[in-house]
């Protein structure tokens, strides 16, 4: 499949084709009923509640809106709108006809959405409960695994299953293998049986092995789900009386080689295969009541734009291999917001903004592009914005000013706050500073001692916060060469290298999913046993099974 269209991630409930969102007081019900003819690209029908990227874009929108627009929702019931089939997972024909890049991007996005569901349960007091009113196969079960609890209808035929290995010759790659053992603590030999048994397990066994939390007959199914939702509501810290913040349509202007949002711009340089991404600081001091400002609240506006831009570039601009990150504006104003986000962290809306920014930074962390931060006069890399610089693979800082251009400018400084040391943890559970100085406690302590202090290039270099601090004699030429050099390296090797360097420190469920599971899956995707003409993925539905090269690698 050639990428014939530009994928847009913006949607809203009135445009959903595959989902319905029903809010009843503190409980929301999210129902999947896929429009078979609503595939994002031609060539497949989304039968049996199977999904493609378009279905998942809507789900992502729902997850986001529930958090911002529905402070009153404390439990979310995820269920299916078909008889006997909750969800059959990712559409196989879609996978079979997709390019490798498409498959990889699709899986990454679905993984991020599932992590977002877990994040809502963990940090928003918005507990997701999977109400499996029919079979949850493959990606369908993986979706349920992202929920806090799984209730399966015990009707003698509905099952949970991960049939990818036996039927398709690939992995349950959106967290399935990982969550079965790491989250649900299913014994590894049972997990092995489960993942090789195409039809999966029903009722009692599923409960006994820990694959689901409860299996209940059809007549008491709704009651059980309601009971669990009620418990979750009672345990939630979310306010009941707060007014939601509407996620109004993003203001985004697209030109041939530029994309502009109110606080974010991207300038595309196709010849050099890079995009210059510039975040702008706030225009004013923070408002007293952030929620009242709604979607206009600067940190939220920046985060939404960044989120949209990352998804857009990742999906639609595969050849722009280098993202050059800058922040401009008044660092003092950035710091005022930075402080407010911390001081008012107990507020439901501020809490949502914080976690959304955290998730967006994580999206950046797992983005397969080289990230280069440039810190020069006028920079607003301070506090939460400095996280962008720290997320980058390299940081280049100008020492002094551009003598020829603006000799009177103030030299750039980098200013770190607790935002960089725990407010926005990475997927590995560490702050970006902890991860950067993993195993070098002295260096970490030295930086911690300087939080809140503007650091000039020499200090930033000394503290190990920047890759290279150069004066204007060298700066631009060095940067040009670095970017050209980067563009000349193998994109695949860079992706692998960056992904390995970015996550120093311990493994977590998330790092395992984006590292171990994804890497294996992506390898399997390109192997003939899956995607060759006789591979299982390509042959699925032809009535013939895959012919495997039996050699173990």
């Amino acid at each position: 499949m050639e990428r014939a269209l530009t994928v847009t991630f913006a949607t809203s409930p009135d445009r959903y084709r595959h989902w319905t969102l029903h809010v009843d007081g503190a409980v929301a019900t999210v129902t999947l009923r896929v429009d078979e003819h609503g595939g994002l690209v031609p060539g497949y029908e989304l039968k049996m509640n199977s999904y493609d990227l378009g279905v998942d874009i809507e789900l992502y929108d729902i997850v986001q809106r529930l958090r911002f627009e529905h402070p009153e929702v404390k439990a979310v019931v995820l269920t299916g709108g078909l008889e006997r089939m909750f969800c059959a997972g990712a559409n196989i024909r879609m996978l079979a006809q997709s390019t490798h890049a498409w498959k990889v991007n699709f899986c990454k996005f679905t993984n991020e959405t599932r992590n977002g569901i877990e994040d809502a349960t963990e940090h928003s007091g918005q507990t997701w409960i999977a109400a499996l009113n029919g079979t949850a196969a493959g990606g369908g079960y993986e979706l349920a695994l992202a929920c806090d609890q799984i209730v399966l209808v015990d009707d003698g035929s509905s099952a949970v299953s991960l049939p990818e290995v036996p039927l398709l010759g690939v992995l349950p790659g959106t967290g399935g293998l990982t969550r079965v053992v790491d989250k649900r603590h299913v014994r590894k030999d049972r997990a092995d049986l489960f993942a090789t048994k195409a039809e999966g397990f029903r009722g009692r066994t599923a409960v006994e092995w820990g694959l689901v939390d409860a299996a209940v007959p059809r007549h008491s199914f709704d009651d059980e789900v309601a009971r669990r939702a009620g418990e979750a509501v009672a345990a939630s810290t979310r306010p009941s009386d707060a007014k939601g913040v509407v996620l109004t349509p993003l203001e985004r202007k697209d030109e041939a080689d530029a994309i502009t949002y109110p606080y974010l711009s991207a300038r595309i340089d196709r010849a050099n295969r890079l995009v210059e991404i510039t975040v702008s600081g706030p225009a004013d001091a923070p408002p007293a009541d952030p929620a009242a400002q709604g979607a206009e609240y600067w940190p939220l506006a920046v985060t939404r734009a960044l989120d949209d831009l990352i998804l857009h570039l990742r999906t639609n601009e595969l050849e722009l291999g280098i993202w050059v990150l800058r922040a401009v504006g008044d660092p003092e104003r950035v710091l005022a917001y930075d402080a407010q986000l911390r001081e008012q962290a107990g507020d439901w809306f501020v809490n949502e903004v914080r976690h959304y920014y955290k998730r967006t930074l994580k999206r950046l962390d797992v983005t397969s592009r080289s990230l280069i931060a440039v810190i020069d006069p006028g920079t607003a890399f301070a506090g939460l914005l400095a996280e962008l610089a720290l997320a980058a693979d390299r940081q280049y800082m100008l020492e002094g000013v551009y003598e020829d251009r603006d000799a009177d400018a103030a030299p750039a400084t980098l200013l770190l706050t607790p935002s960089n040391d725990g407010d926005y943890p990475m997927g590995n559970g560490l702050s970006r500073l902890e991860s950067r100085f993993w195993g070098n406690d002295g260096d970490l302590a030295a930086v911690r001692a300087r939080l809140g202090e503007p650091l000039d290039a020499a200090a930033a270099q000394e503290l190990g916060l920047v890759t290279l601090a150069l004066d204007d004699i060298d700066f631009e030429e060095e940067l040009r060469i670095v970017l050209e050099e980067r563009a000349s390296l193998s994109p695949d090797a860079l992706t692998g290298m960056e992904a390995n360097h970015r996550f120093a420190g311990p493994e977590t469920l998330e790092t395992k999913i984006f590292g171990r599971l994804t890497a294996w899956q992506n390898w399997i995707f390109i192997r003939p046993n899956a995607s060759g003409p006789d591979g299982a993925l390509r042959r699925y539905g032809t009535g013939r099974k895959g012919d495997y090269d039996v050699e173990r690698v």
Binding site: L468, L470, I473, D474, E477, E478, R480, I481, V482, L483, E484, E485, R486, A487, S488
Partner: protein
């Protein structure tokens, strides 16, 4: 040292286009240093370190001044002038050959594209490596030759030694300019390293092996200048083809100066041979050491040694790097543009000799993988010319003995012959056989002592040590007995 000094002699009249050279600045140049204050500052910061290095590791013999050639322009002729100059006031300048605005890349995958005026990021590391390796050899030879002034066979030869030394210093400048101008901070750091590594220094040796061997005496100096400097000439010849235009133009200009270094080597060996032949004739014996001449067999051993270590400088016969450099446009072949082929070489092959089962065999390999060998073959052919010329001197003297180039596999430490023992005649032998006969082929400490015993300085104008014949003519139309060098303390004479 003004140009109209009557004793500066006639520099050739300029005939080619002359660049305006900014000779009034501290660093003579034709790269518009005056207009590039950043670069000027960078280089001026480097210059004191360079002078410090020159004082510590440059020529050890104290002199007042030396009749030296100084590059002042880059036209086809008239690019230099001659004058007596105190050596540490020598104006080491920066000159690039004239720029051809239409110059194209002539080979490799970028063939036909405009030559690069800036370093492409993709090739920065490789280009910098090539420049650093070339740059490292330039000061190395100055260090190797620093004590030779104490045993100079004549004031004429002393001057030639110093001329080679200051020009090698200028070649260092040329490479440092490229590092400063095009490679940012890393380039400056590399430029400093060029002065921190020193020939023969155990802790920080020069990069290439042959540049860490001591130059023990004047025969070795002439051999070095003939064989090892000639390697430099061939390396410069490949860099002169580079797609990176500033490097190409720098090397093109350096080749002008190298021609004189070749001359010193060729005539130095030749004059030694002439005297040797004369003494052999006169005393009707090959054993002329007692008569103050260097025996022919020792000359052959010196030749064998210097030729073989210089062969190693070309690197492995089969080299992926060399192929990559070529394909990327960084380094061409000798006389690239005169070659009649596609200049891409993807399908070309050539023969490669190698050792297997105690025999020298031949196989066919991709040309791109064997470009070091291609260059080395050109070099060997050039070396053979010199040997022919030297043999003419023996023939003219009515002697039947001849010098020869040893086999390419002789005494090799690098490439396909490394780890094998090959005689000068090309016979593969085992280690015992090699050890038994090595003293016949390579200079022994006794041989070097014998040569050293003849190395008595001769500082009287127009006089020559007994082991070497005088040249036919002087430098720059001056007489042979000209006062080419004024020593610091004339009282020492």
């Amino acid at each position: 040292m003004s140009i109209d000094d009557t004793r500066t002699g006639a520099a050739p009249a300029p005939t080619g286009p002359l660049s305006r050279v900014d000779y009034s600045e501290r660093i003579p140049n034709n790269v518009n240093l005056a207009g590039d204050r950043r670069l000027q500052r960078a280089l001026e910061g480097w210059q004191p370190k360079f002078l410090e290095w020159w004082k510590q590791l440059g020529p050890a013999l104290p002199t007042k001044d030396v009749y030296l050639r100084t590059a002042i322009a880059v036209g086809r002729d008239g690019w230099a002038h001659f004058a007596h100059v105190p050596m540490d006031e020598y104006r080491w300048g920066i000159f690039l050959a004239e720029r051809d605005p239409d110059r194209k890349v002539n080979f490799g995958k970028h063939k036909g594209e405009p030559a690069w005026q800036e370093v492409p990021g993709e090739h920065r590391a490789d280009l910098m490596r090539l420049i650093v390796i070339q740059g490292d050899t330039e000061p190395a030879s100055v260090e190797q030759q620093r004590v030779l002034g104490h045993t100079a066979p004549s004031i004429y030869d002393l001057r030639n030694l110093f001329q080679v030394n200051v020009e090698e210093g200028r070649h260092l400048w040329a490479m440092v300019y490229l590092l400063h101008a095009y490679f940012g901070r890393e380039g400056r750091e590399e430029a400093e390293q060029l002065l921190k590594r020193n020939s023969g220094d155990l802790d920080a040796p020069r990069i290439l092996g042959a540049f860490n061997e001591a130059t023990t005496d004047w025969l070795q100096f002439f051999m070095f200048t003939y064989f090892t400097d000639r390697d430099g000439k061939y390396q410069l010849g490949t860099l002169k083809e580079s797609a990176f235009d500033p490097l190409a133009r720098t090397c093109e200009f350096m080749l002008k100066e190298e021609a004189h270094h070749m001359f010193v080597g060729t005539t130095g060996v030749q004059r030694t041979l002439e005297r040797t032949a004369e003494l052999m004739k006169e005393h009707d014996t090959a054993d002329i050491l007692p008569h103050g001449g260097i025996p022919l067999d020792i000359i052959q051993k010196y030749l064998n040694f210097q030729f073989s270590v210089s062969m190693d400088l070309f690197g492995s016969e089969q080299s992926t790097n060399a192929g990559n450099y070529y394909t990327s446009g960084l380094k061409g072949r000798w006389m690239e543009t005169r070659r009649k082929d596609d200049h891409v070489l993807l399908d070309a092959t050539r023969e490669l000799r190698y050792v297997e089962d105690g025999q020298i065999k031949t196989k066919t390999v991709p040309m791109l993988s064997a470009l070091n060998l291609d260059l080395r073959d050109e070099y060997v052919a050039d070396c053979a010319n010199g040997v022919r010329r030297w043999n003419q001197a023996l023939e003219d003297a009515g002697l039947s003995e001849r010098l020869y180039l040893p086999h390419e596999g002789f005494n090799r430490k690098v490439g396909v012959y490394a780890g094998h023992h090959v005689t000068p005649q090309g016979e593969v032998v085992d280690e015992d056989a090699w050890n038994a006969r090595a003293a016949e082929w390579l200079p022994t400490p006794e041989d070097r002592e014998k040569v050293a015993s003849l190395m008595i300085p001769e500082y009287e104008y127009g006089k020559f040590a007994g082991w070497i014949a005088p040249p036919k003519t002087g430098i720059n139309d001056q007489p042979v007995e000209f006062d080419y060098v004024h020593l610091a303390d004339e009282g020492l004479l």
